[in-house]
């Protein structure tokens, strides 16, 4: 409990200006991420969940400053990332890496695996010369590939193998934090299980923290220590993983859990549409942004944005937490599809 946090994110905000042209100012802003705060201990995994377009990726990118945040503070290991000059920021990237969703798009097709892995190693002076070559081979075996893969190009590998290469690249500088943005979503279910297990093994071995962005609750349940639920750019609930699955407090969290897991990312939208459309991040609803879809919404919800309430280890932004919690206090059985996915993951674990 007393370990100092590795990562502190305070009121991180990213708004994208829209409209306007060469000589005109912007007309408005997509409020992709607003006032997102959380902290992460070394070796911990925080999952960020929420439906498509709620700002998960933007949060991950803004906290790594792959997107310049509109405001807010990010402190990694005592260093204020948000205050770094460009060259300092590049150097700081040694400690924070990222794994992307698309294993086919996130590797430079014109570079061999060796070049791809050597690049960060040499750049951040992790090793040089003979030792760098050795380190690349060690990395490859660590992620379940072998040294003879080093001189091949990305197109010669399968999706799962490429994701292993991406993991090796993220690992190559021995970072303290890795942001995984839908790192397994594009893969086959069986491959997903292998990659999730690999990520867990690596965390145990090297002790880095993960920000694990996903819309797949079964994977999240498997890998996360804590879960942050986002809705329209804000965290509406954050709690330990068992807590959130056993006692979801926010009405939106409950809605997410009740919806059966979808194997394809695209389907999340249709699900949302069935229960009321996701309002636009360009013009979020007043008060609690969730009120147009919320079964518990009252007058106050339309006018006043709920502040964070801390209940034990959980943090919830809702005016009617008591009512919400009551409604879910009975443990309901898992939807069958989710149960099946969890079983696959558990089996893969046991085998590994």
């Amino acid at each position: 409990m007393t370990t100092p946090p590795l990562l502190e994110v305070e009121k991180l905000t990213k708004h994208f200006p829209v409209g306007g042209g060469l000589f005109r100012g912007p007309k408005g802003a997509v409020q992709a991420v607003t006032d997102v705060s959380f902290s992460l201990k070394p070796g911990e995994t925080l999952a960020i969940v929420g439906e498509s377009g709620c700002g998960k990726s933007t949060t991950g990118r803004a906290l790594l400053r792959l997107l310049e945040p509109t405001s807010g503070r990010v402190v990694l290991n005592g260093e204020e990332i948000t205050g770094l000059a460009p060259s300092q920021l590049r150097a700081a990237r040694r400690h924070m890496q990222m794994i992307f969703q698309d294993p086919f798009g996130s590797l430079n097709p014109r570079m061999t695996v060796r070049e791809t892995l050597l690049e960060p190693v040499l750049l951040h002076e992790v090793a040089s010369g003979e030792r760098a070559t050795k380190w690349v081979e060690t990395l490859l075996t660590t992620v379940g590939l072998s040294a003879h893969h080093a001189d091949r190009y990305p197109h010669e590998f399968s999706g799962g193998q490429r994701q292993r290469i991406c993991i090796a690249r993220a690992l190559s500088t021995r970072p303290r934090l890795i942001v995984c943005d839908e790192a397994v979503s594009a893969l086959d279910v069986s491959v997903q299980a292998q990659i999730v297990n690999l990520l867990q093994d690596l965390q145990r071995e090297f002790g880095m923290a993960y920000v694990f962005i996903s819309h797949d609750l079964s994977v999240v349940r498997h890998i996360a220590d804590r879960v942050a639920v986002m809705y329209l750019g804000r965290i509406v609930e954050e709690a330990p993983v068992e807590e959130i699955f056993a006692r979801p407090r926010h009405p939106y969290t409950r809605m997410l859990l009740e919806a059966a897991p979808k194997p394809e990312p695209g389907q999340a939208r249709r699900e949302g549409a069935a229960q009321g459309d996701t309002p636009s991040a360009l013009k979020p609803p007043s008060g609690c942004a969730f009120h147009p879809r919320c079964p518990l919404a009252s007058e106050v919800c339309k006018t006043t944005r709920p502040g964070d309430t801390v209940i034990g280890a959980a943090r919830v932004a809702c005016h009617h937490i008591e009512a919400a919690t009551e409604r879910t206090s009975i443990e309901r059985p898992w939807p069958p599809a989710l149960a099946a996915r969890l079983k696959v993951l558990a089996e893969a674990r046991a085998r590994g």
């Binding site: 379940g144 399968s158 999706g159 086959d188 292998q194 093994d201």
Partner: protein, 307 residues
């Protein structure tokens, strides 16, 4: 460090274990073989190669000095009525050997085209890539390109000649400048597609500098498409260059240049048409083969560029 102890010998390295995913893409025939399977393309490439070879080897192949006058003026090709065996393609109005002038002329024509397309392509592509790389620059660069596009090459050539005097250099500059906007636009389009890909962001996430990102990630992924476009552009440049020298702007006599040769033949069009027709046919062949070859190359290497 205890890396790679239990993870290494876990049997998941090979594609078979990675589920039912696509492994490596299906083997595609080597691009060169696919290119030559297309009969028209193969013929065009062969012909263009022969013309280039002739141009390169002109000093050794040409039977006469291309500037040497003789008394045998306006002789038709040797295989036609009135032709003489000494001059395979006949002679021009000043009795110069047309074959020799053709070899030297294509040399100059191709050289002008090559230098112009190289210069214009390099500058234009760099501008286009930069514009795609730095989104903030983009609107300004596009405005500039629109302005440049409104100057036709011929007018630009005339203006430059007026300022710099006649010669090959102003023509090359005019041709290069006139290909800058097109090259910039095409390169920008290609680069925009590459910039959208996740590996660019992945490179940034690793901590690469802009220079490294530009060179190793952007340029490396654009260069082959850009080269294909330039090979298509080459035919056009040759044609515009020949037009300029037909108008008397480019190479000066007694040097041989195809456009100029066609222009000189104009005077004899009625009684010795071969003097104008032969160089014109060669220009036509160069442009045609360059276009067919470029098209085929594009189809084989980069179907994205099809419009």
């Amino acid at each position: 460090m205890t890396m790679a102890t239990d993870t290494a010998d876990r049997p998941l390295a090979m594609p078979a274990n990675d589920g039912g995913e696509v492994a490596a893409p299906p083997p595609r025939a080597h691009w060169l073989r696919r290119l030559l399977r297309d009969k028209a393309a193969a013929a065009a490439i062969l012909l263009l190669a022969l013309i280039c070879l002739g141009a390169i080897l002109a000093p050794w192949l040409a039977p006469y000095d291309p500037a040497l006058n003789s008394r045998a003026v306006m002789k038709p090709p040797s295989f036609m009525k009135g032709g003489v065996p000494e001059h395979l393609l006949g002679t021009d109005g000043q009795g110069r050997d047309i074959l020799s002038r053709l070899l030297y002329g294509s040399r100059l024509t191709l050289l002008i085209g090559l230098v112009a397309v190289g210069l214009g392509g390099a500058v234009g592509s760099f501008i286009g890539l930069l514009s795609a790389f730095y989104a903030r620059l983009d609107p300004w660069v596009m405005r500039g390109i629109d302005i440049l596009l409104s100057f036709p090459a011929i007018l630009l050539g005339l203006a430059l000649v007026a300022v710099m005097g006649q010669g090959i250099v102003p023509v090359i500059i005019a041709l290069a400048v006139s290909s800058v906007p097109d090259c910039a636009r095409i390169a920008r389009g290609i680069a925009m597609g590459v910039m959208k890909q996740e590996f660019i962001e992945a490179g940034r996430a690793v901590g690469l500098s802009d220079v490294a990102l530009f060179r190793r990630y952007l340029l490396r992924n654009c260069i082959s498409s850009i080269m294909i476009f330039l090979s298509l552009r080459f035919g056009q440049i040759i044609l515009i260059g020949a037009t300029l020298s037909f108008l008397g702007l480019g190479a000066q006599p007694p040097a041989a240049e195809l456009g100029m040769m066609a222009a000189q033949g104009r005077e004899y069009l009625l009684f010795a048409p071969h003097i104008a027709v032969i160089p014109s046919v060669l220009i036509f062949l160069i442009v045609l083969t360059a276009n067919v070859a470029g098209d085929a190359l594009r189809d084989v290497l980069d179907p994205r560029l099809q419009t």
